[in-house]
């Protein structure tokens, strides 16, 4: 990435993100890579809330806000309308958090993927309902504190594997991405733009407030998530061909966990349990990569 690429800003200052939020970095990269010939479809959640208040908006793209459960359906509607006008150049970018993707929005998302409608669906995952104040979602990792999984009752279920769910739809392109690896992220957005059909981009989005870490650590934590193999960077084509983009070797997951207050309530043996799970998931992914 060079300075030239940063010229085209479509997310200006004036948004309402918390200091150190990973999400506006996700959106800046996505908007820059897509360019102005884009219509954004946004739903409830952090991004829907920070994107200004009438009559101003920090988003310099044509943007449509739609209720929580409807992101996939609304993006399909925009795409269909553009197609009817003969506009096949404009990209449609649907944006939702983990709540809007894993939970309340999964029905409309799955349907749009099954129809293979031609748009990019970007999920920024901050691993809980952060906009309403840190409540657990099905993307919250095992052992994490949230306001609805207090220290006496920490999240006791593993995170839902949304990438596998989307890959199982046999859509043309599914990819994970990280703000700590911007070149890789931007390449994936551009590839998604050039690919016809349904594209799912799943981007890791650290949340200083909800994860209880100091706001200057956002990129470091995003990078550690990749380095520990906890959030692997990979692509899935047509639901079958797996391509690994980074093979960092596996920093101990403790390095990632110990920076975050949300994991402060782990008991003896929990770190090891999480490490075992990360190792198991990584092996599973490697089998898929080697098998394709």
């Amino acid at each position: 990435m060079n300075a030239k690429e940063l010229v085209n800003e479509y997310l200006s200052s004036g948004h309402g993100c918390c200091p150190g939020c990973g999400m506006p970095i996700v959106m800046r990269h996505a908007f820059q890579a897509l360019g102005g010939r884009t219509i954004a479809v946004i739903t409830a959640g952090c991004f829907g809330t920070i994107s200004g208040a009438f009559p101003t908006s920090p988003i310099k793209l044509a943007t449509y806000n739609t209720p929580f459960a409807s992101t996939g359906a609304a993006a399909s509607g925009v795409r269909a309308a553009l197609d009817m006008k003969g506009d096949f150049e404009t990209s449609v970018l649907a944006v939702a958090g983990d709540g809007g993707t894993f939970d309340i929005g999964i029905q409309a998302l799955s349907a749009a993927a099954e129809r293979n409608d031609d748009f990019i669906y970007l999920c920024y995952d901050n691993e809980a309902y952060m906009n309403t104040g840190i409540q657990r979602s099905s993307a919250t990792p095992w052992g994490a504190w949230t306001t609805t999984t207090p220290p006496t009752n920490l999240k006791n279920q593993p995170k839902k594997d949304i990438v596998q769910i989307m890959a199982a739809h046999r859509v043309p392109y599914v990819a994970t991405a990280s703000i700590a690896y911007p070149e890789d992220f931007i390449r994936k957005i551009k590839r998604a733009r050039e690919t016809r059909g349904f594209k799912f981009l799943y981007v890791f989005s650290p949340c200083p407030v909800g994860w209880r870490f100091s706001s200057e650590l956002t990129i470091r934590i995003a990078r550690l998530a990749v380095q520990t193999n906890l959030f692997p960077l990979y692509e899935v084509e047509e639901g079958e061909r797996y391509v690994l983009n980074e093979d960092p070797g596996g920093v101990p997951v403790e390095e990632y966990l110990k920076l975050q207050g949300r994991f402060a309530y782990l008991r003896e043996g929990d770190m090891e349990r999480i490490q075992e799970n990360v190792d198991r998931e990584w092996k599973r992914l490697m089998r898929r990569v080697e098998g394709s």
Binding site: I39, F54, K60, A74, S76, Q107
Partner: protein, 384 residues
């Protein structure tokens, strides 16, 4: 050209002739044949719309609303539970000021399960910001769909066209299908005043804080009020071009009537016959069929009903704890006015129970034979 068709097929022809560009719907009885017919029309090229087969009614409304915001003419259809499932999106679509047209085939909402006609599904959505037009015939359904686009695109509010499930959706009658060129003259292509456009980027539905939210709502209220005049004008123009008009309401022998029966939808067809029987017996009975429920044409309705001594309101719906919804609105319309006929309230035909000539006869008899309404709705034909 006249063709024999059901109400649902007539609706589909209306949508095709209106040149809808994006259609999205989810099947539900008794609306399903609209979806099926439009799928056929889109597949064989008669209807040049993109048909998106969504997984739910919530998504259907979200999809057409977003397409409408992108600047094309859209359509969806539903019934009952599907309409209830859309509830959030009904508010959203009206709030976004999108000229979406939808047909709802009226069907009771469970529990218990019931697939047959009543108007409780749409009347319980009366506060969502949609215009509501209740049809009596397949011809009127076709014509009203075409009119609905003209009205919606003028006032920037969505329009719900109502057809009674089965009684209208599934019964056949000869329908005059207008010529496409004539419809094109009446309904020019949709030119969106505001739309999602990368060349002129704006944000739809951004946060409006307490200092400004109320202004959006008042603006919509003014447009909704203006919709009465717009709908009346559109109907007059339609009549001038196609020879058929329906008005905001229809009067049958109301001018000298002592008792006027007020209802909506297909029950009016049965009532017409019964009214004539009473006239033959020398009883001054009239019928008023309300076509427009939202916006509620209070002034027009009061003008028609205020000459009568008694009004019998026949509701095919009920708001638990408050009574028939049409009756409530009529009573409110009279409040504070000079003339107040006595309003008798009847609830009938819920969940598809037939409203027969005998039912209507009983309603009229009760109204003729009692000096005052008892204060509560009278429920017709309930099995003990």
């Amino acid at each position: 050209m006249k063709k024999l068709m059901t109400g649902n097929i007539a609706v589909s022809y209306g949508v095709m002739l209106s040149r809808a560009e994006v259609i999205s719907a989810y099947p539900i009885t008794p609306q399903t044949t609209i979806v099926e017919e439009l799928s056929e029309m889109c597949s064989d090229g008669r209807c040049k719309a993109k048909f998106i087969r969504v997984e739910s009614e919530h998504s259907a409304m979200a999809c057409v609303a977003a397409a409408s915001a992108t600047g094309v003419r859209v359509f969806t259809a539903t019934s009952s539970h599907g309409l209830a499932y859309m509830h959030e999106m009904l508010h959203w679509t009206a709030g976004t000021r999108l000229p979406v047209v939808m047909v709802n085939a009226n069907r009771a909402i469970g529990s218990p399960w019931n697939i047959w006609c009543d108007q409780g599904d749409s009347l319980s959505q009366r506060d969502t910001g949609w215009l509501q037009l209740y049809c009596e015939s397949a011809q009127e359904a076709l014509d009203t769909v075409i009119q609905a686009y003209r009205i919606a695109e003028a006032v920037l509010l969505p329009v719900m066209v109502l057809v009674d499930g089965f009684f209208l959706s599934h019964t056949s009658e000869p329908v005059d299908v207008p010529d496409q060129k004539a419809v094109d003259r009446f309904l020019p292509p949709y030119r969106a005043q505001y739309k999602l456009d990368p060349a002129d980027p704006h944000t739809f539905n951004i946060m409006a804080d307490p200092s400004i939210f109320i202004a959006f709502k008042q603006d919509a209220q003014k447009s909704m009020e203006a919709a009465k005049k717009v709908a009346a004008r559109v109907d007059r123009e339609f009549k001038a071009q196609f020879g058929r008009g329906y008005g905001l309401l229809e009067k049958v022998r109301c001018a000298d009537a002592d008792v006027i029966l007020l209802t909506m939808g297909t029950a009016a067809s049965t009532a017409r016959e019964v009214i004539e029987e009473y006239r033959k017996k020398g009883k001054k009975v009239g019928l008023c069929r309300l076509r427009m429920f939202r916006p509620f044409p209070s002034r027009e309705l009061v003008k028609v009903l205020s000459g009568a001594k008694k009004v019998a309101v026949l509701d095919r719906d009920n708001s638990l704890g408050a009574g028939g919804i049409l009756a409530q609105e009529v009573k409110a319309a009279f409040y504070g006015g000079a003339s107040k006929p006595k309003v008798f309230e009847f609830v009938a035909g819920l969940g598809g129970k037939d409203i027969t000539p005998e039912t209507i006869g009983d309603v009229i008899e009760h109204t003729l034979n009692n000096a005052s309404p008892g204060g509560e709705s009278i429920w017709m034909g309930v099995q003990e």
